[in-house]
């Protein structure tokens, strides 16, 4: 395997020189790509920004925890780099050329000008038409600082707009679901009890008995859904005054959640890796965090149902003013298309009847109320990792 590129080598490239180049020259186009790649560096902020520009495939690069530049030069990650370039400009016959470039990169003993040259040579082929225009808009700033500033501003605006839209959506769903759930509760209790009455007065050998059992089962499913809706909307409605947060050890909360799911864990032969010997304090509402953990862990169990390797690993770590809880599974993983949507209310990939699509929306709300964060990363076929970041504010 070839040596990994150091980002610093690339950053030493003389940007000033590129700026004096003729506007229309191919050299400049190459320079701009290089500049972009340089900006990407190892800094996640810029890789994130670029990913918003360059579509979903980039997200895969991000989720694999490699920056684009790393992926680009690391020969072992060739497929990633190929997809990345194809996402810039889908064109079938690029592949052979990119192969040549990689050969060239591989020949070089370390990251040096030839590697950079290789990337530059691709530029001409990769960039054209609209994509080039977008790049030029981004890159037509006087200095690097200007560009950084603009990137940061745009990124912040994008994020704020996204958050706003999400908040509005959540609050609309909250109000709507609370109304519906309350209205449904009464007739549902009626149906449930009517069915139970008929069951009680039907002999088990009667062929209607099992049908009534089915009716009861389905009614209970509705009741479950309503409970979910109500707990979802209750979180929306309840202000912080109903919400008690205490400094406490997080480890026993994780343990309780695991115990509640022990039956499933054992039945499905899942190996659990979790160090329960530590004491790690966070400022949380015990029941709510337990609810979040149960939800995430049972999702993990669902995801591993058909996996050959079934390992659930939970890592709890204290940082300054923060506690991080990682829940990792070896399940089916979540495709990048879905990753951004999994916290949306009513979004579910489970078969009809097996998920309401509210679980993670509730989780996110709970964590939001803690002023914490919930993050997810996933690799299709390898597994998913949820990270809860919970605050710790000792009084």
């Amino acid at each position: 395997m070839m040596q990994l590129a150091s980002p610093y080598d690339i950053k030493t490239t003389d940007l000033a020189k590129l700026e004096v180049a003729d506007e229309n020259s191919v050299f400049e186009i190459r320079g701009k790509i290089l500049k972009l790649f340089t900006l990407l560096g190892y800094d996640s902020f810029y890789t994130t920004y670029i990913s918003t520009l360059f579509s979903d495939i980039c997200r895969e690069i991000l989720s694999s925890k490699l920056s684009a530049i790393e992926v680009g030069i690391q020969a072992s990650s060739k497929p990633y780099f190929l997809t990345f370039l194809f996402s810039l400009r889908p064109s079938g016959n690029l592949e052979r050329r990119i192969d040549c470039v990689f050969d060239e990169v591989e020949k070089s003993s370390s990251i040096n000008n030839s590697a950079i040259k290789a990337i530059l040579n691709l530029g001409q082929d990769v960039l054209s038409g609209k994509t080039l225009k977008e790049m030029q808009d981004v890159l037509s700033f006087k200095s690097k600082d200007d560009l950084y500033y603009e990137l940061e501003k745009t990124y912040t605006q994008l994020n704020a707009a996204k958050k706003m839209a999400q908040l509005e959506k959540m609050s609309a769903v909250g109000t709507l679901s609370a109304g519906i759930a309350h209205e449904l509760n009464n007739p549902l209790m009626g149906i449930l009890n009517f069915v139970q009455y008929c069951l009680k007065h039907t002999p088990p050998e009667d062929k209607r008995y099992t049908i009534l059992e089915d009716a009861k089962h389905e009614t209970l499913r509705c009741a479950d859904l309503i409970q979910n809706l109500l707990s979802f909307s209750r979180l929306e409605e309840d202000g912080p005054e109903d919400f008690v947060i205490e400094d406490q050890n997080v480890v026993p909360i994780v343990d309780e959640a695991l115990k509640l799911l022990l039956y499933r864990i054992e039945k499905e032969k899942v190996r659990v890796v979790c160090d329960k010997s530590m004491i790690i304090t966070a400022s949380v509402n015990r029941n709510q965090i337990k609810q979040v953990l149960i939800n995430i862990i049972s999702n993990a169990l669902d995801a591993m149902k058909n996996s050959r390797k079934k390992v659930l690993e939970i890592k709890i770590a204290g940082e300054e003013n923060m506690v991080s809880v990682l829940v990792m599974d070896t399940g089916t993983g979540i495709s990048s298309d879905f990753l951004t949507r999994i916290f949306d209310p009513f979004f579910t990939t489970k078969p009809v009847g097996q998920g309401t699509g509210l679980g993670l929306a509730v989780c996110q709300n709970i964590i939001k109320m803690h002023s914490g964060e919930i993050k997810v990363s996933s690799e299709k076929g390898r597994g998913t990792t949820f990270e809860l970041r919970l605050p710790y504010h000792p009084e």
Partner: protein, 124 residues
């Protein structure tokens, strides 16, 4: 003498649920509103179940008025925990008016369990 319970709920399906679940266990009297419930509660009951969200007198007000004369009968407020009533429920608790909460929807076995529990002398 058979035990008697009172159900106060504006919804027919809820009243009927209790009647069916408790068939053969005790006598069930029903009231369609808080006002009617208060009138009926002048008789002696062993348990009272009361809805929270009703037109006219709501559950909290109804329980408050019943408790003025009757301090003893166990009262269960059956609710889906609507946010709009939590303040009133808190106020009831602060005023030391005794009641228990039950969450809708109640399946029949839970109705039976609560009633038999009270009849069996369980503390609520």
């Amino acid at each position: 003498m058979p035990k008697k319970i009172l159900i106060i709920d504006d919804e027919n399906s809820i009243r009927k649920s209790f009647v069916l679940a408790l068939e053969g266990i005790c006598d069930v009297e029903t009231a369609e509103s808080g006002e009617e419930g208060i009138k009926k509660a002048k008789q002696k009951f062993d348990i009272i179940f009361c809805d929270l969200k009703m037109p006219g007198l709501n559950g909290a007000e109804t329980v408050r008025l019943i408790r003025k004369k009757d301090k003893k009968t166990p009262i269960f407020i059956v609710t889906a925990f609507s946010k709009s009533f939590t303040d009133e429920l808190k106020q009831l608790q602060e005023d030391k008016i005794e009641f228990q909460l039950m969450s809708k929807p109640l399946p029949s076995e839970q109705i039976v369990a609560v009633v038999e529990g009270v009849f069996g002398g369980a503390e609520w």
